[in-house]
Amino acid sequence: MTRQGNILVVLPHPDDESIIGGTIIQHIQQGAHVTYVCMTLGEMGRNMGTPLFANRVTLPRIREKELDEACRILGIHEVQKWGLHDKMVEFEDRAYWVQRIQELIRATKPKLVLTFYPGHGVHPDHDACGEMVIRAVSGLAPEERPVVQCIAVTRQGKQLLGPPDLENDVSDVVDQKIESLLQHQTQFQLMMGDYSPDKPEKKERYKIERLWTYRF
């Protein structure tokens, strides 16, 4: 199998990676080495499990473990937890974190970076995260710049950005993707609704992942 180089994933919350879990698995199967920067621990999340088994104080450690387990199943090689405060990403010293992202790109030389599309994240942390990644990559010389593919979740995303550059069919790895998603036990009832592996029709919406390439 030919090695497909390094991929850097930069997202703010544990479970954000599951949106593109199939794409990540496929890259890894093709030999890519994946580093995932998860900026926060999602400690301000509203879901404490059903029935409630977490609380505001225990949530960060529980979600950290869920993240580790989910990433193990995806096959992600390295997870970096940067420890920013959930919901506060946009109020951080952006210049500092942009520089940290730049340093990581220079050190790992990814061919591809995956993040949120600025302005299309819905959650302010998603937008702030995407903006910092775009600023970091913009600051590199054109020949140093990796390809940046972005997740867009706004309703008007398709109208404003045009059709996705990549409409990725992940049917072949969808079970592994869902298994990873289910590790986010405090969160998955909210994310998946009445999902049950016995209902094949529920799988359908996890089979396509859409990404937009950022044009610098």
């Binding site: 301000m44 509203r46 104080v57 819905v122």
Partner: protein
């Protein structure tokens, strides 16, 4: 988290009265409320590790519950509390969860920062 037992909450409020304590007070519709059409507005406010001293604190209501803390110059108030952490004996960890189990309001009081 367990369903609130008002007598146990009152005991903790009495225990923490009159000293400098750290408070986490939060209310949120969630960041996705407007996106999902659940509300016109996604609104959240929280203050973490605010240092306050209260001279009286009590729990009221039949459930969901209200807690009011009288401070030297004002009040701390939370409404809609449904659950608490009964494993904690020297701090109050209380929250209000909606029908889907999502946190809407939180009130936490401790001698140590959260």
């Amino acid at each position: 988290m367990k369903r609130i037992e008002p007598a146990a909450i009152q005991q903790l409020l009495d225990q923490l009265k009159g000293e400098e304590v750290y408070i986490h007070l939060e209310m949120t519709t969630g960041a996705y409320a407007a996106h999902r059409g659940e509300a016109n507005l996604a609104a959240t406010a929280f203050i973490s590790n605010a240092i306050v001293t209260y001279s009286q604190g009590s729990i009221a209501g039949e459930g969901p519950y209200r807690v009011g803390l009288k401070t030297e110059k004002g009040w701390v108030f939370a409404q809609g509390l449904t659950h608490w952490e009964d494993a904690e004996h020297d701090k109050l960890i209380a929250a209000g969860h909606d029908g889907d189990g999502k946190l809407v309001v939180a009130l936490q009081i401790s001698r140590e920062p959260f």
